[in-house]
């Protein structure tokens, strides 16, 4: 057992830190650190910078453009990104469909799509959820019927994040009605410009436009855009969900929020003193910091197991559960730190369109938006209730 980093790891850490410091655009950093939604242009700009260094997709195998880092290096990289308020690449291409393509796709698909992901030429979105199927994903109804070299797709997806920016969507569709729910699903890559696709924005609790409904009306999709075998899509879908779970704890980002909270607590006035002298407030912050530390070392312990070749089943669900709870507690506390100014909130676009500014301190805008947006953290990617079901079954055997 050893907690220290090797000299190589220490050097790596410096390299990462220095690179980010020198290359992260200030505007991108500013939005991310305040919990404000990204712009597509800014996100693309930053992803291209990361890719020019070869660091866009550390988890990918080397042959497809991955970094070949150890688990510890990946951890260091994630920490440094978080520490510097550097937004991670959009997950839909790099973390979700990319691994599915290089694991289950054919050579042609790999050759075409993977470089385009790395170069931010394609923006992907995820077509999993449907109105009737949330946690019960396999009950999806969107149908694909074979017609020569095409599928004809009909149906609807929902909760599709950032679909308005995307030119491609990966979709689970039903290709066989007559078998068990999991056995008739296929995995298709669909051009968002295809005739018959329409998008309807869903305005979120934060009154921002992040989510969408995507409608498919006789959409033609070439059969060659199918990943792997027909009716085996559930296997690829589960693989993807498993990948998602490990990256969702967002420890580095939460650490940064803790620091930010300490700064706010040293600025906000209470009873002639400062918020940092308020025992109740600080107790909550301290408790979160301890919980975050426990989560961090649990992630490290799991990484260590993976590096030693151990196979984990549902253990990473713990990271999702605790990580999302901590994110919510932090934004809740950030709102609380503002006193009644926490209640002042309007969508960014509206606010930036005004000529007059609020009297409130500048840091008062982001928290409520993030607080509202992050209520989804315990819902998406398999709700925390579902994650507990998974641990109960797979780890505890109940």
């Amino acid at each position: 057992m050893d907690l220290s980093f090797t000299n190589e790891e220490v050097a790596f850490k410096s390299e990462v830190r220095e690179f980010i410091e020198n290359n992260l655009p200030a505007d991108v950093k500013d939005r991310y650190s305040r919990g404000i939604h990204f712009t597509k242009e800014g996100q693309e700009r930053w992803q291209k910078i990361l890719n020019s260094k070869g660091w866009l997709a550390p988890n990918w195998p080397g042959e497809y453009g991955g970094t070949g880092w150890t688990a510890t290096q990946k951890y260091i990289f994630a920490q440094e990104m978080g520490r510097a308020s550097a937004p991670p690449p959009m997950p839909f291409g790099v973390s979700m469909v990319g691994p599915v393509i290089y694991t289950f796709g054919n050579q042609e698909q790999k050759d075409y799509y993977l470089p385009r992901i790395l170069q931010s030429e394609d923006w992907w979105c995820q077509g999993y959820s449907e109105p009737g199927s949330g946690s019960d994903l396999a009950s999806l109804k969107t149908k694909a019927v074979r017609d020569g070299d095409d599928y004809i797709v009909n149906g609807q997806k929902i909760w599709t994040s950032h679909a308005q920016h995307a030119n491609l969507i990966f979709c689970l569709v039903r290709t066989d009605q007559d078998v068990k729910a999991q056995e008739g699903i296929s995995f298709l890559l669909i051009d968002m410009d295809s005739p018959g696709i329409t998008l309807k924005p869903i305005i979120g609790l934060d009154t921002e436009h992040t989510l969408n409904e995507v409608f498919f009306d006789d959409v033609r999709v070439p059969v060659k855009n199918r990943i792997g075998e027909e009716n085996k899509g559930w296997t690829y879908a589960k693989f993807l969900l498993g990948n998602e779970r490990t990256s969702i704890a967002r420890i580095a980002q939460s650490k940064l929020r803790c620091e930010h909270l300490r700064e706010v607590a040293s600025a906000e006035r209470v009873d002639g003193g400062l918020l940092q002298d308020d025992a109740d407030f600080m107790r909550k912050l301290n408790q979160i910091e301890v919980d975050l530390m426990a989560l961090e070392y649990t992630e490290l312990r799991m990484l260590s197991k993976i590096e030693h070749g151990e196979t984990l089943t549902a253990e990473p669900s713990l990271l999702k559960i605790k990580g999302s709870e901590i994110q919510q507690r932090l934004t809740e506390l950030l709102v609380e730190s503002l006193g009644m100014y926490g209640a002042a909130y309007e969508a960014l676009e509206v606010r930036e369109g005004r000529n007059d500014q609020n009297f409130a301190p500048d840091y008062a805008h982001g928290p409520m938006a993030e607080h509202l947006y992050l209520r989804a953290a315990t819902i998406y990617g398999g709700s925390n209730e579902i994650q507990r079901n998974i641990i109960s079954k797979m780890v505890l055997g109940l």
């Binding site: 959820s129 009737g132 199927s133 949330g134 946690s135 019960d136 009950s139 929902i158 909760w159 869903i202 305005i203 979120g204 609790l205 934060d206 009154t207 989510l211 906000e268 006035r269 209470v270 009873d271 002639g272 109740d280 407030f281 709102v335 609380e336 006193g339 009644m340 100014y341 926490g342 209640a343 002042a344 909130y345 309007e346 509206v350 606010r351 007059d356 609020n358 009297f359 409130a360 301190p361 409520m368 607080h371 509202l372 209520r375 989804a376 315990t378 819902i379 998406y380 709700s383 209730e385 507990r388």
Partner: protein, 377 residues
Amino acid sequence: MDFELSEEQVLLKDSIDRFVKDNYSSEDRIKLSQTDLGFSRDHWKTMAELGWLGMAFSEEVGGFGGGAVETMIMMESMGRGLVLEPFVSTVLLGGALIAEAGNEAQIEAIIPELIEGNLMLSFGYAEAQSRFNLNDVETTASKSGDGYVLNGTKAVVYHGGTADKIVISARTSGASRDADGISLFVVDTDAAGVDIRSYATVDGQRAADVRLENVTVPTTALLGAEGKAGPVIEKIIDRATGALCAEAVGAMTAANEITNEYIKTRKQFGTAIGKFQVLQHRMVDMYMEAEQSKSMSDMVAMKLDLGYEDDTRKAVSAAKAQVGKAAKFVGQQSIQLHGGMGMTDEYSIGHYFKRLTTIEMLFGNTDFHLNRFSNLS
């Protein structure tokens, strides 16, 4: 000891419930909150006509002599519909201050107009540094000739942008945070030097920061004795806090009903999600929080009608602490149980969540009131 409503009170409740049912569908409410005004002047007129604006005022000042219990009944019903009209700001804060501390002339000039629905008020008491401490007043009022000159900035003044007059707390003597030396002034919102910047709040309402720069008011603008407003403010805010608890009870009850209905109908894995034991127990905990909040809200209304003593203050803080905890839990879990649907601004449940979130902060958050409960003898 009796928690049941009288026949008259039942009639009052029924009439507001009907108003809410007819005018406050989720769609109506969302549309209304997106208008520039943020509420409806027509509704306000209706409320005046039905006598609700005068309910909380004593007969001496021209009101209908209802007590805290009547206010509780109205607020609970309004909470069920997330009513947007500035009832708290105009009636329970501005109006109540004038009825409590005003002289005959002030009362005659304002209260009848208010009850008729022709005059809207607001109360600017908090400042950026004051958080929930009512005595933390840095806005100053200095004597000058026949009147006073006011300087300072009031923060997050609910409905400050739509009020005709704002009651402003200002320091006429004493050091910042002294209980003594605070005075109240009735300030016209169109007076020279008054700069009101309005913004939306997360609960679909409107608030404003109100900057006063050398605002001159006549002596007749002074409400009550100079420097002696501290206890008046505390009392009126306590009464409004009790009313806010009732609003929260209404909102929680509605949120629970909506959520309960949703989990009964929403199916996953071939069964209504309300059949999953974990969600059932969550729903039970939400129900218990709302029930206990209702008990505290009723208790505080009845206690306020018995007088305003030390133990009334303690009861108000206990009620707000319970309601704040419950509002947070019920609001957040309503979203969680709705899943993705809870994240949509088009759907009603999110608006309950957002209002419950601000209610938790308003007039002092849960920690503040837990400490106040403890510090009061």
